[in-house]
Assembly symmetry: C2
Homo-oligomer: 134 residues x 2
DNA sequence: GCTTGCAGCTATAGTTACTATAGCATGTAT
DNA sequence: ATACATGCTATAGTAACTATAGCTGCAAGC
């Protein structure tokens, strides 16, 4: 049951990643150029499937393309250390923490504005007043 | 002290918005085309200064260009109601809440991975193991 | 035998919200 | 005279895809 090849449509189904994105990842070098059928269709194997799944998990965790690329290079080269990867991951977690803080601030300010709003049908809106304050 | 005109550099200083962005906002219609000096330099007044400040505040609150445009149209047309603006703002706050939830989930997962990591110099990294799990 | 539909292909453009660059004109300071 | 600062326009670049146009080739239905 190993060693069977499948098309890009099957890879897309297996991973939930749309076809264009798969080809995009190949173009930018995250995925290798796969074998082709006589008709020129891409043929994938389990290795590439797993590699794509790896990429998609790092994507879901908010790593950008270059960060994903670095992870892959570390893995490919086998020259990573646990420490290096942990540092990278912690750094990323900190950035996410900062984003959360910023968004919470936004949320607080938005809710503060709506709190002061009478929600009426008139045109004396305290939200706009706040946005227009000097 | 009113009615004095100033250049784009001054507007930039007053608002903290870089010059290119001001011109960009003009191009996409958020800011009006201002008067020009004999040399063709843009000349701004207090009204445009306040309009730009308004735009920048909505930007800081995470409203995208089209949302900012809608706010401006409501204000320009005078045909807004307090209720409408409140709804718009609350909806936006909800989207931000959702983003915060997603980011918190990311953060938790990242920290969980690093927790299980021995942080050593070896190449048996539990973070990678987690990312590669099937 | 013909058409329709589907899956794949390449190359290219569009998206968001700016940011940066190239190449120009003009005014002021040295 | 020359450098520097500020302004101008038009255009390209950014991130990470997503969508489109126009093509090939296979299989099924009429």
């Amino acid at each position: 049951m190993k060693n069977n090849l499948f098309t890009i449509g099957r890879l897309s189904e297996q991973t939930g990643c749309v076809v264009q994105t798969i080809r995009y990842y190949e173009r930018i070098g995250l995925l290798p150029e796969p074998d082709r059928s006589p008709r020129g269709h891409r043929l994938y194997n389990e290795d590439i499937l797993n590699r794509l799944k790896f990429i998609l998990r790092t994507r879901q965790l908010g790593f950008n393309i270059e960060e994903r690329r670095t992870f892959l290079e570390l893995v490919d080269g086998g020259k990573y250390t646990c420490h290096k990867i942990r540092q990278k991951t912690l750094l990323h977690a900190q950035e996410i923490k900062r984003k959360i803080r910023d968004l919470k601030k936004m949320e607080r300010e938005l809710l503060k504005m709506t709190d002061q709003c009478n929600d009426g049908s008139g045109t004396d809106c305290s939200i706009l007043a706040t946005l227009f304050r000097n």
